[in-house]
Subunit: 422 residues, 2 copies
Amino acid sequence: MSVAKQDVRSLAEAARKASRVLATAPTAQKDEALRAMARHLRARLPAILAANAEDLAAARDAGKPAAFLDRLLLDAGRVEGMAKAVEEVAALKDPVGEETEAWDRPNGLHVRKVRLPLGVVLMIYEARPNVTSDAAALCLKSGNASLLRGGSEAARSNAAIAAALAAGLTEAGLPATSIQAVPPGERETLLELIKLEGLIDLCIPRGGEGLIRFVAENARVPVVKHYKGVCHVYVHAAADLDMASRITLNAKTSRPGVCNAAECLLVDAAVADTFLPRVGRELVARGVELRGDETTVRVLGGAGVAVKPAAEADWGQEFLDLILAVKVVEGLDDALSHISRYGSEHTEAIITADASVAGRFTREVQASGVAWNASTRFNDGGELGLGAEIGISTSRLHAFGPMGLKELTSQKYVIHGQGQVR
Amino acid sequence: MSVAKQDVRSLAEAARKASRVLATAPTAQKDEALRAMARHLRARLPAILAANAEDLAAARDAGKPAAFLDRLLLDAGRVEGMAKAVEEVAALKDPVGEETEAWDRPNGLHVRKVRLPLGVVLMIYEARPNVTSDAAALCLKSGNASLLRGGSEAARSNAAIAAALAAGLTEAGLPATSIQAVPPGERETLLELIKLEGLIDLCIPRGGEGLIRFVAENARVPVVKHYKGVCHVYVHAAADLDMASRITLNAKTSRPGVCNAAECLLVDAAVADTFLPRVGRELVARGVELRGDETTVRVLGGAGVAVKPAAEADWGQEFLDLILAVKVVEGLDDALSHISRYGSEHTEAIITADASVAGRFTREVQASGVAWNASTRFNDGGELGLGAEIGISTSRLHAFGPMGLKELTSQKYVIHGQGQVR
């Protein structure tokens, strides 16, 4: 399954060539390809499940943990979900050619900004085989060729999925090399891949922080990084406390292992005595371990709610688990300064009925998503209505936050004149 | 003038700290600072000219060529131009806080995309001292702190200019560290600087291809690259030939040393016999050396116009001089394929009266600027009405083409709910 340096470059060159065709492919043809890809995923279900069973057996033999095996597992339902997701991308609006701005210059020139694809997108990911079809579909719809480098444990599954996608491309008359699964070889071949400046326009690594750091530190092609999410919920003095409690519970417990889950609760001192015991009891009832600052420990302890004293390392910590740091703050400025110091610029929420306080919070917080009276969990491509998301950028270059189809495009200036010269 | 590793990091840390203040600084305060900066540039004219005289003397002693000395030279007029340019940036619309899109979700969430600054911008440039004030002003207006690393030959001039800018910042109550001139030290300190991930959000190198490649190959922070411009003018069969001639002359001769000047003329075979001799004569009269393909050589030779046969290396060549490659093509597809093979994705122009041909050309050409019946020279921040430009990106990530204030920002999602949870 290893792949030589030269092979990696050939794959990228083929992708570059395909990207030239995709850049001007009509929307109808891309959508036809997407629908054909979905049909082929369904038609090849037995082959995909057989390949996946081999991957699973090997992963089991290698002693991989249950959570890993679950991420790797495909069944009829999951493959149907993949096919449906591809069809949903077909139904999204094509961003290519969209005019985003237009204006006239005093000399009569008419200027438009028009979206065009990025070119070749390299996805690097780990165990989940559904990323193969999800990412391929989003890249295709946005006119980009994709190179998909999944984890070695999912190699057989990914190859079977890629074969189905290629069959769909061919059926619609698009180059089969528009979507290519890169065989997961040695780390050296990954290194070679992320240095192919001029052949790869964007690299999106998805996975653990170790993988992302490795890619970011070694890549010569542009990388959209997705680091951690240390999200805060700030309950302001003027909050509706029922709402604050509902949102805190949702942000912490609905899916504690994801990046837009809350890791820290900030509560205004003015409502701490009322709010902390009630939300604390509900959190503890759902199995959450609370780690509080001195005031929180006093208030919760006094109310008989289980709480541990927080260590300095608990602030700014991404627990990804049923653990919540809790701190009592002295109003908006104190909350803003805590978030600025310990937040990860991912998602921050404020609960308040005071619009001017919310205005300052949403203006001043420098995060990819800022929620007012809503859960941090909404900072997600699907929830925001982007249709689907290829990743979440935690750095501000190119895109910040959930990335959908538009974020897989760039823009060119189209200048229309009547013979103007300078 | 050399600067130690630790000093470089301290400068970047101070910039990061200042960037937090700038991110939420009101427009009025930023504009006040810009106007004060302009005043201090004027007030310190003698000090700036004295520093520049020392730089010039040293450069002369070092045997730098006349063009270099001219780029380095400041006089009263040029400093006044710098001050005026800073005032013009004050008059531009503040992009920070601008809402670019807004929509409602079925669950009642109201989502807005709002511009925010990038953070810390590092400019790396060579001899021109005016870049110091131009770049600083654009970064400040867009809420970014700037680190300005000019060439060592301009170090005294840049320090004097930066001191004037700092005085303006202080007068308006903004951190003087919002704009910092980085002393030009050893190449090692540049290397250190471009690896400061987490402290620097964007690096913009401006200068020769060698400098840009060095930065791109060694940086760990995101880099906006500005490589070469190999721009084509395509004269279609349905072109107004007077217009085509005017635009060709302008694109080639108005300023041959810049990246949006034309390097290659493509002429449809149907009009080659009529068009080539007339445009050829005018080009030659302006001192342009023509290098033609076989047909061009035959047509121009037959008409008595000086022409050399083009070598393969002349296609895709950035001459930056009064040299023009000329090729006769068999219609739109042939022109598109030549441009796709030899163009640099900078700027391409078509001259035609046929709107459907122009439509295909503007859709299919993958360049940062595509002009229809206008000179390639208009793909420029000032000419497009961006107000000013901090650079021209030749890669598609983050921005493509001229970058103004908007391109110095990112966007965040602001999500307003009434207690929604997932």
